[in-house]
Every structure is written in C-alpha cells, then in structure tokens.
Symmetry: C2
Subunit: 253 residues, 2 copies
C-alpha cells in the first residue's frame, strides 16, 4: 500500500507542513520506502519532483521541506511497491497532457486485471497497474471531445470511470487537471477544510506544530486529503468507500 | 535567446560539472534570467526540474549542483524570454509521452508563424512558439504508426521535421526519447566527446576544474552539446547550420 496527500486551496498555499508529515511515513514512521513524488500546480504549469529513494532520507524531500512552493493544487504520494519494481518510471504521481492541461494522477491500491483493458494513444512508460489505469481514464476523457468540456461534464465522466475501476480491487486515487482536484475513496481516504477562524495543528508523525492564523489570510480556504490523518488535533472526516470528492477553489463541489 | 545543454553517455553519468557552468549563465555570467529547467533520463523514466527563477539564484539549481543524478541523457535550458511570459508553463524543457516513451524538448530561438501550424492531440500548455513546435513534431511522429518504429526511421523523420521548421527563424534544439539525443543546429551549437584517455577541464563561467580521469571508467564515452563552449581547455566542435546531430550511447550516429 501507499499513502496519498492532496491539497486544494482558493489561493496559492504552502504545503510544507503537511508534506513534512507525509515524508516521514516514507521509510521512517511508515513503511512506504519505495519512492515518492509530488506535483505542484502553479498557474497552468505543474512542477513534479520524483525520487525512487525513501522520502524520509531523500535530499529532494529535504529541499522541499525548506523551500516554499505556493500552489493551489498539490498531489503527492509515498510508495510501497506491490506492482512494478522500484524505479523512477513507476514512481507516482504520473502526468500527461490532455486539452492543453497537465493531468496528474496518484493511486493507492491494486487493480486486478486492469492491464488487459485496451488503451489508445496514452501509453504507460512504467509497469504499474496504476499508470495503466490513468492512461485508460485519459483515453475515455479524450472521447468527450477535441476541446476541453465544461467542468461539470468532466466531473460526471470521472465519476463514471472511478465506478468502473473500483470493483477491480482497491482504488484510492487523486487526479487533477490543475483546475479541479478529484479524490476517489475506494477503501480509505480522509479530509478536512481549514478556514477562518484558523487554529493550531500538530503533526502525528513529527513534533511540529503550526498556528495557521499566523500564515493565512482571513478568506483562505484550504482543503487537505490524505490516506490517514496527518494531524492529531484536527477533525478529519472519513470519506465513504465509493465516494468521489470534487474540489475546486478549496471547497467541495 | 536562451542556452541549451545536452548530454549523452554510454553509462549513467553525473552532469553536475557542466550544469554548474550553464547555471551561472542564468542571471550571473549570462543574461538568461527568465527561468531554467533540466530533464534527466533514468531507465525509462525521466525527472525534470523547472524553476521560473534565475538558475544562478535558484535553490533547486543549488540542490542539483550538490546532488549527483546519474543519467545517460540530459536536456537542460536556461531561458531569456522572447515569446511567452515568464511562467512555469513556459519553462523548457517540455515533456510529452508518445509510444510509452517520455519525449523531452528544449529550444533556443524564434519560429515566426509556427503557432498557425495545425496541431492534433498534443496541445501546448503554455504560450511559447517552442512548445507549439514540439507538439507539432510529436503529431508528425505519431503518424509513423501506433507502435514505436525503429530508431533509424525516427531519425529520418526528425531530420525532415527540423528541415521544415528551420526556415521559420532560429531553431537550435535538443530532443530526446530516452534512447537517442537529437540536436539540431539552426544557427549555433557546439559539442565534444570525452573518452579515454581522459584529461582535465576548467569551466569558463566558474573557477571550477575536474580531472575526468578520476571520475570515469576507461570505457566511458560522454558527449556534451551546448550553445557555447562550457570549458576553456577542451576542443569544442562547431556544428553547421542545418546539421542534425544524432547521439546514441555517447557516440554520433
């Protein structure tokens, strides 16, 4: 299994606090030592950092804990390999371009038999079932048209695609096109939304606290989605198996 | 204008020495202060680092100067914006997947009118003429077939595509699919190949020398391609305008 971390906010937001907790689970407080990756959207662009090294001992993870990247959408993943060897090409999140947007995908679980599902022009580079499922989803989305459809139309199609994939096994996933963050709960996923009045939070995996009232503006809305709660003193909400969460501008849609 | 740096070797090789020289040209010894990027192939995967900050003052560039990534193919670019605003989505190198391979592209120059050339499924995320040209090239390549053709067939098609683009303006470019490194000289590009007996080299842009005999194995072959020579004491060869250089396993093909 692996762990996921997603963030969606209504203004560019620094993810370092949450990422610090997740990174510790990559080989230190958790067994997910088979690589990690994180993608940050900034405007229409996205920056991704991948490392087949455990995040708890990764120089790149250390840089990111010190270096503030402000982003409205973040997708991160620490990996414990079950399908596909430990290699850069098997390290989530995966990215592809569709309709002139950067799509990013990270998955926790297994999807039995998905590699027999036919693909079109999007092809996996690595050998994970996750990347195959991502390529399959994008090909279905592309069938919606040559130009990017309205967000609601994409939401409905992604709901349909998740419902098709979920019966194959465990399908906890994060997907984004830079405008919307989709989170599907196959088995385990939780979330919370931080907004005014902001309070304090303390990580579970590291002795680190933050007072969000000192690092936010009053109208900031920041939602965080994770496999397991990252903080010990906030009210995380469990998603239900089969539930698709659709986030835009920090809010559930 | 911008500056390019490419590397192709027959074994995973550390690019830090050459990258140190290039990075200084991003806002320090050169005027290319509008962002930079570098892509490293490792196996079938590729890692890219992008920063809209000048490379001479970039925390990520500093990390890469300290952190050895061993790669057989590297594509790097420092940017001085002429088309497209300074933003992450306009920062080279650009990447796309085709035939299950990661393609990487970086360009120095301008291509007048290329944005009117029709595209297929590959669409630009940003607003540069460079990314438009890259999307156009990939669409032409895709027309070769559903599966990846032999390398020689791809070489011939890329030669044809470069000849079509070059008359639009200045087209110095690096392109790779992780197996081959293509370098097209529209106006200015130079290269060298390091092989046994290895000697010393000193950067032009920084007081830094390396004795390659101490960091290589006897059968290593490493070729470096750059807009302008990076070292003061090696014999760089000027490519001719209109010349396509095709590198595999460190050697010109």
């Amino acid at each position: 299994m692996c762990e996921l971390l997603g963030m969606n906010a209504n203004a560019p937001t620094d993810i370092r606090f949450s990422f610090s907790g997740l990174a510790r689970r990559g080989g230190e407080t958790g067994p997910h030592g088979d690589g990690w990756g994180i993608a940050f959207y900034e405007g229409k662009g996205a920056r991704a950092f991948h490392d087949p090294q455990p995040s708890a001992r990764s120089d790149i993870a250390r840089l990111l804990r010190d270096y503030p990247i402000h982003s409205r959408i973040v997708v991160a993943h620490v990996r414990r390999a079950n399908r596909g060897r430990v290699a850069l090409e098997n390290t989530h999140p995966f990215t592809r371009e569709l309709w002139g947007r950067v799509w990013t995908f990270a998955h926790n679980g297994q999807l039995k038999g998905v590699k027999r599902w036919p693909l079109g022009a999007f092809r996996p580079v690595g050998t994970t079932d996750s990347e195959h499922a991502f390529c399959w989803m994008l090909e279905q989305l592309r069938a919606l048209g040559d130009e990017c459809p309205p967000a609601r139309r994409i939401d409905a199609e992604i709901r349909r695609l998740c419902a098709a994939l979920a019966p194959l096994g465990v399908f906890n996933m994060l997907l984004s096109d830079g405008r919307t963050l989709y989170a599907f709960c196959g088995k385990r996923l939780c979330y919370l939304t931080r907004r005014a009045p902001f309070g304090k939070a303390t990580l579970i995996d590291e002795d680190l606290s933050v007072d969000f009232s000192k690092v936010t503006r009053p109208d900031d809305v920041v939602s965080v989605i994770a496999t397991r709660p990252l903080t010990r003193d906030e009210a995380w909400i469990d998603a239900s198996p089969g539930q698709l969460l659709v986030w835009r501008d920090g809010e559930l849609r």
